[in-house]
């Protein structure tokens, strides 16, 4: 039997190379805006005690967010988890389910509001002023020919676009080879 194999693509950063410059976030905003999606960054440069890197959706193959979505706005698509913004009801179940903190509820800010006076960044949760808040997550810049824009702009090359080809062949087998090599090296000497 030949079952169709589905391995999602995803974007991931290397914290050793990332300098936390947030160019990816600016590019993400620009790409979302240009593609008519909610104009907010979908990856967040996260500064932790041990280091800094952007955090974004891992496009899990058995994604908890898509499993928990009550209206089917998050869909198991061909090679990623697709979010249909127009269906989302902003229930935030996906935020609770996501193990990576990579999906959140946001609303686009409105030009008529003076955000220096309004508590600017809680509108994603409270929607006090009427903007509908919906889930946002990395969509791998779907519709953009050149692929994810964050990967393209990263000045240090810290962001990596991983697809099903190189996850198995490049990333995994390289590490496996290195592990086997070092094990053989030790084993030959000592066992």
């Amino acid at each position: 039997m030949n079952l169709p194999k589905r391995v999602n693509k995803f974007v991931i950063a290397d914290p050793n190379v990332c300098i936390g410059c947030a160019t990816c976030m600016a590019a993400c905003y620009e790409s979302s805006h240009a593609r008519g999606k909610l104009a907010v960054p979908r990856l967040i440069v996260t500064r932790s005690k041990s280091g800094t890197m952007p955090n974004q959706c891992r496009q899990c193959d058995d994604a908890p967010c898509a499993n928990v979505c009550p209206v089917g706005a998050l869909e198991f698509s061909n090679d990623n988890i697709e979010l249909h913004e127009e269906i989302c009801i902003g229930c935030k179940m996906c935020t609770l389910a996501c193990p990576f903190g990579a999906i959140r509820s946001e609303a686009e800010i409105m030009p008529s509001v003076n955000y220096t006076m309004e508590p600017k960044y809680n509108l994603g949760i409270e929607s006090q002023i009427g903007a509908k808040s919906i889930a946002v997550k990395c969509d791998l810049c779907s519709g953009r020919e050149e692929g994810p824009s964050c990967v393209e702009v990263c000045p240090t090359g810290a962001l990596l676009f991983v697809d099903s080809q190189n996850i198995n062949y490049t990333l995994m087998s390289q590490k496996a080879e290195a592990a086997v090599e070092s094990f053989v090296h030790v084993a030959l000497k000592n066992i």
Partner: protein, 589 residues
């Protein structure tokens, strides 16, 4: 910088970063540093904030804000005591070793441990790593200079470099990382109160040389330091202020005082590309072309003169800054402002300072994609590494080791300096440095308050806050008051609650972010946001005796939690004085 920034990637063995948040403020330079680390370079970071670079460092030391001279003196003390200094370099190319030896005698690593809790063994480790490296580069920024002992801080750094012979070789040097693309250029052009593009105004030879080119006598009296301007306006000595490419309402310390001072002016003219907070208070606002709309040269942090050509035409009627100034000069009736293009001005610069720029024609700069000064003639290849001949720029060609002492009370500095001069019989024209804290925490204001930058915004946000991808994309935090964990704990502050920070000069209100990277007892905020500008609290009264710099990086403050209503009240009053005219209050920001 004495060296070129690309050398961090290729040649430096030890990077010594002090008072710089390189990855946030100079991402491109940080990139070169990371390449160096990948190559095997070691990195030492010294800062009150555990920055991203600190997390990547081999040794990180968290000093209190302003505690630089005792720390650097302790390093020098250990280097001298353990004979780790470069005897040949010190003997042949410098003088003043005995002065420095005396000045640092009391500053042992153990003293640092006693005063700050930083283990003496760590101080020794830093001293040894730096001194034993083949090529070690010191990098610093405003975390060293913006104090009342800023100049003395830099004396200490140059002492370190001279003692260890880290000058005049690739990958070493003393490297101030410049904060703007052309700040080096602005200084080179004489945009300082006491210099022209050719040298000091007090130097008769310089004035003669300028006269031979401009045909006019120039004043031998240095002008006012920028930090003195508000004071001089109040005294009635300055009646006309012409500001361009700057937003001093937000970038100068003690905002309230500055705003009050400019009210006394007869006329204020602001020339900018956006209607900044300063422009909103001006009598006349002149528009100008932005950097992508004009031709010219920039001189970057590595002293490299690079050509920039315009990418787009400016809007009709908008001309570059130099042309606006020339137009005004011509209306006044001044001679010699009839340039046709930027290249003519540059050629005049080359005539005024042939020692640095003589060989840098536009054709050459464009062909070679930037050349570092000094480049005296057309055959010279430029000087990415200064002092390769081990000769300083001083008249006798030797480097000076400057004794730097430390006073517990800032008022004792001159007295202690005099005592040192008398005790060691130091000649009159020999520089002597001293340090002290501008303010000490007390019961009323128990926290140290420091300012800095965020990676996504630039200075007062004049340009970056107009850029949607940066303002809405990269900056999802907005203005925030960052506090150390102990401050938050003691005052029951939690993330995202509102707080007010105040001292005798002003107050700001913003959301709280607890930042475990900060040293205990420290509050950090930025000066990017008009709605919560850290400079409202900055110290404008104390200055560095040599440079006139204010201690922008250090003051004291108190912080407390406030309700949302109070927060909005404070915000509204801040907005009122930042944007006095109703019509701009909601247009901008």
């Amino acid at each position: 910088m004495t060296n070129d920034l690309t050398e961090f990637a290729t040649d430096t063995e030890v990077l010594f970063l002090i008072g710089t948040n390189t990855s946030e403020c100079h991402p491109i330079i940080a990139m070169q540093m990371l390449r160096g680390i990948e190559r095997g370079a070691k990195m030492i970071v010294i800062d009150p904030k555990e920055t991203d670079m600190a997390k990547k460092a081999d040794i990180y030391i968290q000093t209190p804000v302003g505690y630089n001279i005792p720390f650097l003196n302790a390093l020098i003390n250990h280097i001298i005591k353990e004979d780790l200094f470069d005897k040949e370099f010190v003997e042949k190319y410098s003088h003043g070793l005995e002065y420095v030896k005396y000045a640092v005698a009391d500053f042992t690593p153990q003293r640092v441990e006693k005063e700050t809790g930083i283990p003496a063994s760590k101080v020794i480790e830093v001293a040894e790593m730096y001194a034993k490296a083949g090529t070690a580069a010191i990098c610093y920024t405003m975390g060293m200079t913006q104090f009342i002992d800023g100049t003395s801080n830099i004396f200490s750094l140059s002492n370190l470099a001279i003692l260890t012979g880290n000058l005049g070789k690739k990958g070493a040097g003393v490297n101030p990382l410049r904060g703007q693309n052309n700040v080096q250029g602005a200084c080179d052009m004489g945009a300082l109160p006491n210099v022209t593009a050719a040298g000091l105004v007090t130097d008769e030879g310089v004035r003669e040389h300028i006269k031979s080119i401009w045909g006019k006598e120039i004043s031998s009296k240095p002008g006012f330091a920028l930090t003195k301007v508000p004071h001089e306006i109040e005294e009635g000595k300055i009646k006309f202020l012409y500001v361009f490419g700057e937003n001093p309402v937000m970038s100068d310390p003690w905002t309230e005082h500055f705003i009050e001072a400019v009210e006394h002016l007869d006329t204020m003219v602001v020339q900018d590309i956006f209607l900044t907070e300063t422009a909103q208070k001006a009598d006349v606002v002149l528009p100008a072309a932005s950097w992508g709309e004009k031709d010219g040269t920039f001189i970057n942090t590595s002293r490299r003169v690079a050509y920039v050509s315009k990418a787009v035409e400016p809007a009709t009627g908008i001309v570059p800054d130099w042309k606006v100034i020339c137009n005004i000069a011509q209306r006044i009736g001044l001679q010699g402002f009839d340039y046709y293009k930027a290249e003519e001005i540059w050629d005049e610069v080359r005539k005024v300072n042939p020692r640095f720029f003589g060989g840098l024609s536009y054709a050459r700069i464009i062909k070679e994609n930037g050349i570092s000064w000094p480049c005296p003639d057309e055959t010279h290849i430029g000087t990415p590494v200064l002092y390769e001949d081990k000769k300083s720029m001083l008249p006798d060609g030797k480097f000076k080791l400057v004794p730097v002492i430390y006073a517990d009370d800032k008022n004792d500095r001159t007295k202690l300096e005099k005592e040192l001069i008398n005790h060691l019989n130091i000649p009159n024209d020999y520089p002597v440095g001293s340090g002290a804290l501008s303010e000490k925490v007390n019961e009323e204001y128990p926290c140290l308050f420091t300012t800095g930058r965020k990676v996504y915004h630039y200075h007062t946000g004049t340009m970056t806050r107009e850029c949607k991808p940066l303002e809405m994309g990269a900056d999802i935090m907005g203005p925030a008051i960052e506090v150390s964990e102990d401050i938050a704990l003691a005052r029951k502050l939690e993330n995202d609650c509102y707080a007010i920070v105040e001292n005798k000069r002003g107050k700001i209100a913003a959301k709280v972010k607890i930042n475990p990277d900060l040293r205990h007892g420290t509050i950090f905020t930025t000066f990017h946001y008009a709605e919560a500008d850290g400079n409202e609290l900055s110290n404008a009264e104390d200055t560095d005796p040599l440079s006139g710099m204010n201690p922008l990086k250090m003051t004291i403050a108190a912080i407390r939690k406030i309700s949302e209503e109070e927060f909005i009240q404070v915000r509204e009053s801040t907005d009122m004085h930042m944007h006095p005219s109703e019509q701009y209050r909601t247009v901008r920001r």
